[in-house]
Every structure is written in structure tokens, then in C-alpha cells.
């Protein structure tokens, strides 16, 4: 969920809650004030009426003080002696032509020697209308506020948060092998500036570390070559000497180890070269032809384990790849399928228009699937394998933005590459 939406949701929920509570409280407060004013007005009218009745001679049964206000005087025999009473009734209003609420103030008084029961009836209409109006205003205000809040928030999120989104998209695009500095953001927000500074120094450090590591790998890989050749050749020379069988065996082990080390070095230096993008020139590779050629080269080696190779070329895709990388890719896939196969096993190679499948029989892996493409992961006893093959495959597919996946079921290992 987006930050702006979370903020909006919370703002609006709070706004509505506050306004509902505020409106209810406000309604009652206003109502009591209006009510009080209304009553005070009624009493004021009463005082006015009493004054007029006492002052003027002529009496009328009904007085109309205001439109809608009604005064009723009833002559009574004896003093009712009541304190003024307020009561609400519903009566037919001839102006509005419907039944409306009224409030009546009843009191008694004596003038010109007679006792009277006086009722002043006043329409509550205006009172109610006021309440209605206020409520309507409240609702409109809530709606307007919510709307403006959403708009302002969206605007803020676009404007103020834009540096943040800029940084985020830069970070998503960031590749340590091809570092592009974060674009300078134009913001007055301290937090974003701090964020960018922190990220910049972190990125600088990562780039430096990466460069150091890369150089180190390159140098090691290059410098290790000559001593390795010396070890190999010196041990080869020693093997020619008339030494005891035991000594020769020991030298044989040195020789063998140097061979393994040089294969390892070679693998690592290919990985480094891929990282350094030193395999740039691409050419059009006819996958079918390419695989067929490779297969014919290894026919004999396949024969050692008595493996059956079946190929299915359902399409003839042409990929734009570097020739060396294509060679390494196919060789390692094939090598993997041969090496980790079982005696009398099978290999199935399927080429589709956008998919390459390498399937081989073999024992269950001892390592988790997700680690399969990591360096130096090997299963079981195969110490001859240097454990770089599949990580090379992975790196090459990554380099060309291909999808690679592995699955295992029923003793079949399947590596799928989508291009």
C-alpha cells in the first residue's frame, strides 16, 4: 500500500470520527443554546404582554405578537396561581399548511380585577431550521475538508516525495558492475537530503570495495598462472627422474593438484571477465547447429558412461551471443548432464523457440535447489569437479537476461533456460 494512501486513509478516518463526535456534541450544545434563547424570548414576550395588558385598556382574546406567534387569554374564576409552564405541542400551521412543532408558555395573571390564564404559543420552526442548516454546513465542511485533504496529500506526495521516488528508482536501476551515481535531487526536505548523502557514501564505499575485489581477483587470476605452470612443469620433469614408486606417486599428486587449480583459476577468470563485460562481440548463434556440433565432439565421452542422448529440435532459434560464452554455456550444461549422470543413464536436450531444456537422469542432490547455481556447490563425492560449472551457466544467462530454473523429479534433473 502506498504511503499516500495509508496517510489519506488515516486522515479521513480520523476526520470522520472527529466530525461525527464533534457534530453530535455541537448539535446538542447548539440545540441547548438555541432552546435557551427561544425560551428567554418567550419569557420576554410574556413580560411584554403583561406590561401591555396592565397598561392598555382594550383587551383582545387573541394577540399576535409575531407571525406564527399566538397569544390566548382565557378568563378564569379564581386565581390559578401557577408558575409559568413551558410545553411543546404539534399543531396545524395555516401558513405552512402542515402540522408543525410549537412551544407554549402558560402563565396566569390578574388585571382589571379578573384572573386570566395566558398562553403564548411560538412556532419552533425557525429553531429547527437553524439546527438543520447547521448540520448541513457541518456535513459539507467534512466533505470539503476530506476532499481537499486527499488532493493536498496527493499533491504533496507528488511534489515533496518526488526526490524520494527519484532515489528509489535510481537504486532499483543501480548495478555495482556498472555504477551510475544517484541523480542529484532538488529538495528542501532535510530527511531526503540526509538519505541521499547516506546512500551516496554507502554506494561509494561499495564501489570501492567492489573495484578492489575485482582487481584482486583479476590480479590473482593472472599472477597465479605462471607459478602454476612452473609447478606443473617442474613436477612433470620430476616424473621423468628415476625415483621410487612412492616418490613418483607423491609428485603425481602435486601434478594433479596443479591441474585442478589451473582449471579453477580458469573458471574464476571467466567469471571475472563476464563481470567486466569483456565478452562484448556477439554473433548469431544457431543453437541447433551449435549443440549438434558440441555433441559430436563429446560422443566418445558420453559413451564412457553408456549414456543415451536424445535431442528434440522443435525450433531453430538464432540467438545473439558471444561465441565464447555460448560455448562455455553449452559445454557446462552438457558437462553437468554427463558428470552427474548415472551409468546407462539418459540425457534429453530439447530446443524450443524460446526455451532450452537439459534433462538428465541422476541421483538426488544433497544441496538445496536454490544453492545449485552458487559457486563451489557440489553434491556428493565428485571432488574432481571444481564446482564452478553451473555458476558460470547462471552468470552467462544473467548476463543475457535469460531465465534459468532447475527442478528435480523422479530421478530427472531438469535445467530450463528461457531466452
Amino acid at each position: 500500500m502506498k504511503l499516500v494512501n495509508i496517510a489519506n486513509r488515516n486522515y479521513i478516518i480520523t476526520l470522520i470520527l472527529v466530525f461525527v463526535v464533534g457534530s453530535i456534541v455541537g448539535y446538542f450544545v447548539l440545540k441547548s443554546i438555541v432552546n435557551k434563547e427561544f425560551n428567554e424570548k418567550l419569557f420576554a414576550e410574556k413580560d411584554q404582554l403583561i406590561y401591555e395588558l396592565h397598561t392598555f385598556e382594550e383587551l383582545k382574546a387573541n394577540y399576535y405578537l409575531n407571525i406564527g406567534d399566538k397569544i390566548q387569554l382565557d378568563e378564569v374564576d379564581r386565581d390559578p396561581d401557577i408558575t409559568p409552564i413551558l410545553s411543546d405541542t404539534v399543531m396545524y400551521d395555516k401558513f405552512e399548511k402542515k402540522k408543525l412543532p410549537f412551544r407554549t408558555l402558560t402563565f396566569s395573571d390578574k388585571f382589571q380585577g379578573k384572573f386570566y390564564l395566558v398562553r403564548i404559543t411560538k412556532s419552533l420552526m425557525s429553531n429547527n431550521d437553524l439546527m438543520k442548516g447547521i448540520t448541513e454546513i457541518m456535513v459539507i465542511v467534512v466533505l470539503l475538508l476530506s476532499l481537499s485533504l486527499i488532493v493536498v496529500n496527493r499533491f504533496l506526495s507528488k511534489k515533496i516525495w518526488s526526490p524520494f521516488h527519484q532515489i528509489l528508482s535510481d537504486l532499483n536501476e543501480f548495478k555495482i558492475s556498472k555504477p551510475v551515481p544517484l541523480s542529484t535531487i532538488d529538495t528542501t526536505v532535510d530527511e531526503f537530503r540526509e538519505l541521499q548523502n547516506a546512500l551516496n557514501s554507502m554506494i561509494d564505499k561499495s564501489i570501492r570495495d567492489y573495484q578492489n575485489l575485482k582487481e584482486y581477483t583479476e590480479n590473482t587470476s593472472h599472477e597465479i598462472q605462471t607459478p602454476l605452470a612452473i609447478i606443473r612443469n617442474k613436477s612433470e620433469m620430476l616424473l621423468q627422474e628415476p625415483l621410487s614408486k612412492k616418490q613418483l606417486t607423491e609428485i603425481g599428486k602435486i601434478y594433479e593438484a596443479s591441474g585442478r587449480l589451473s582449471r579453477l583459476k580458469e573458471g574464476l577468470s571467466i567469471l571475472t571477465k563476464i563481470d567486466n563485460e569483456q565478452f562484448v562481440d556477439a554473433e548469431f548463434i544457431h543453437l541447433k547447429k551449435f549443440i549438434k556440433k558440441k555433441l559430436s565432439n563429446v560422443e566418445e565421452l558420453v559413451g564412457i558412461k553408456n549414456l543415451t542422448v536424445t535431442t528434440k529440435f522443435l525450433a531453430n532459434p538464432i540467438l545473439e551471443l558471444n561465441n565464447d560464452l555460448a560455448y562455455i554455456l553449452i559445454t557446462n550444461l552438457l558437462s553437468n548432464a554427463i558428470k552427474h549422470n548415472v551409468e546407462n543413464g539418459e540425457i534429453k536436450i530439447t530446443v524450443k523457440s524460446s526455451e532450452l531444456l537439459f534433462e538428465n537422469t541422476g541421483l538426488d542432490l544433497k544441496i538445496p535447489t536454490e544453492e545449485l547455481f552458487d559457486r563451489f556447490k557440489r553434491s556428493g563425492k565428485n571432488i574432481e569437479s571444481i564446482g564452478l560449472g553451473l555458476s558460470l551457466v547462471k552468470r552467462i544467462t544473467d548476463y543475457y537476461h535469460m531465465q534459468i530454473s532447475y527442478s528435480y523429479s523422479n530421478q530427472w534433473h531438469v535445467i530450463k533456460i528461457q531466452y
Binding site: 612433470e236 596443479s258 591441474g259 580458469e266 565421452l301 559445454t331 554427463i338
Partner: protein, 225 residues
């Protein structure tokens, strides 16, 4: 047979000189471009082994010079593994072969022999070891004059043995010679053994001797007892 080795790493050069001397070559060694230019000017060599990366320049310059001199020497480039550019550049300007570090001396020896053979188009283009005669260009082998029918791998194997006669050849080196980079794809050592068995059988069937000795755990040696 004169061989010039242009290699800046002393320990490596020593090995090459020693191994090749033993194989009947006369070897000279220089460790920089300058002395190399001097040498090729003053003497003629059957084969020149050039390391591409030299302290004072590129070994490719030597090849260039040899070509302008219309030299008849065979040229083998030594370079780092997988530097395809060097390889293509070298072969383009006229090198005969290419070998990557680290290599086996037996492999280098076989390459030198092959390069020299290709360079000298004389009638003597055959290799003889006791009763075995190999005609490398016709892919033919005879045992005391009788033709021996070999598969391509068996032929390569025999030629490799004869090129490195009396030397211990490791099984890794044989595997690499026969299958190149694909050697570690499978348990190729078992396969060498079965090829060897067939080769021995075929030679013995038509009256040849078995010169292949097993050096336990290490490899083989082709030697006259």
C-alpha cells in the same frame, strides 16, 4: 633441430629447455623482446616458441619480424588461457600453433614436432620408432611394413607417445591432448585405458611389440626396453 624459446619466466624456460634438450633439440632461451629480435636476425631456427606477454613488448612483434624476414621457422605462441584475441592475432600474422599456460611439456613437445613436420615438406616426412613407422599426413601406421588399422584417437595416441618417447606422460596430459577442454566432462581416464588396450592389442596382433609401460597412478611411458 634448433629451437628458440622466448619466455620471460626463468623457471618455466628452464623446464622447457631441459625437456626439449632431452628430446634431441638444441634449445636457446631469451627472456626479452630485444634479445629475441637479435637472435632471429643472427640465426635460423626450426621452431620458435613465443610468449605473448614479454617485459619489453608483445611477442606478436617477433612474429611480425619473422614474417617480414620470410623466415621458415615454425612459430608456436604461448599465452594465457582464453585470451582469444591474442590467439587470433597471432594465428592471423602467421603463427603455426597456439598453446595456453599452463601446459604439459609433453604437449609442447608434440606440438613442436608437428609444427616442424608441417614446415619441412621433404620426403622424410615419417616418424620411425623401432618397427613402427608413422606417416602423420596420411594418418597411416605400419608395423614392419604391414599396415596397422587404427581409429583417429588411437592414431593420435600413438603419435603422442612416439613424439614423447621414453618420457613419462601423465594421463591428464593424454586426456587433454585427445579431448582438449572437454577432458574433464567425464571420467576420461577410463577411456584412455580402453583406447590403450585396443592399441596394444592391434599392434601385437600384427607382430609388433608392446612399448607402452604403465607408470602406476601417474600415466604411461613409451619406451624400448
Amino acid at each position: 633441430m634448433n629451437v628458440l624459446i622466448i619466455e620471460d619466466e626463468k623457471a618455466l624456460a628452464e623446464n622447457m629447455v631441459s625437456y626439449l634438450d632431452h628430446s634431441g633439440y638444441h634449445c636457446e632461451w631469451v627472456d626479452n623482446l630485444n634479445s629475441a629480435q637479435e637472435k632471429i636476425w643472427s640465426y635460423s631456427y626450426d621452431c620458435i616458441i613465443v610468449d605473448i606477454t614479454l617485459p619489453d613488448g608483445s611477442g606478436l612483434d617477433v612474429i611480425q619480424r619473422l614474417k617480414t624476414m620470410k623466415s621458415k621457422s615454425g612459430i608456436i605462441i604461448v599465452s594465457a588461457k582464453n585470451s582469444t584475441e591474442d590467439k587470433i592475432a597471432g594465428l592471423d600474422i602467421g603463427a603455426d600453433d597456439y598453446i595456453t599456460k599452463p601446459f604439459d611439456l609433453s604437449e609442447l613437445n608434440a606440438r613442436i614436432k608437428s609444427v616442424i613436420r608441417r614446415r619441412s615438406f621433404d620426403a622424410q616426412n615419417e616418424i620411425t620408432f623401432q618397427e613402427i613407422t608413422i606417416f602423420p599426413y596420411d594418418h597411416l601406421v605400419t608395423i614392419s611394413g604391414k599396415p596397422l588399422n587404427l581409429t583417429k584417437k588411437e592414431f593420435d595416441l600413438l603419435l603422442y607417445f612416439v613424439s614423447n618417447k621414453s618420457r613419462v606422460i601423465t594421463k591428464e596430459s593424454i586426456a587433454e591432448h585427445l579431448w582438449g577442454d572437454d577432458m574433464d566432462m567425464a571420467d576420461s581416464f577410463d577411456f584412455i585405458y580402453s583406447h590403450l588396450k585396443n592399441l596394444r592389442k592391434k599392434i601385437e596382433e600384427i607382430g609388433g611389440n608392446d612399448y607402452i609401460q604403465t607408470v602406476y597412478g601417474i600415466g604411461y611411458k613409451f619406451i624400448k626396453e
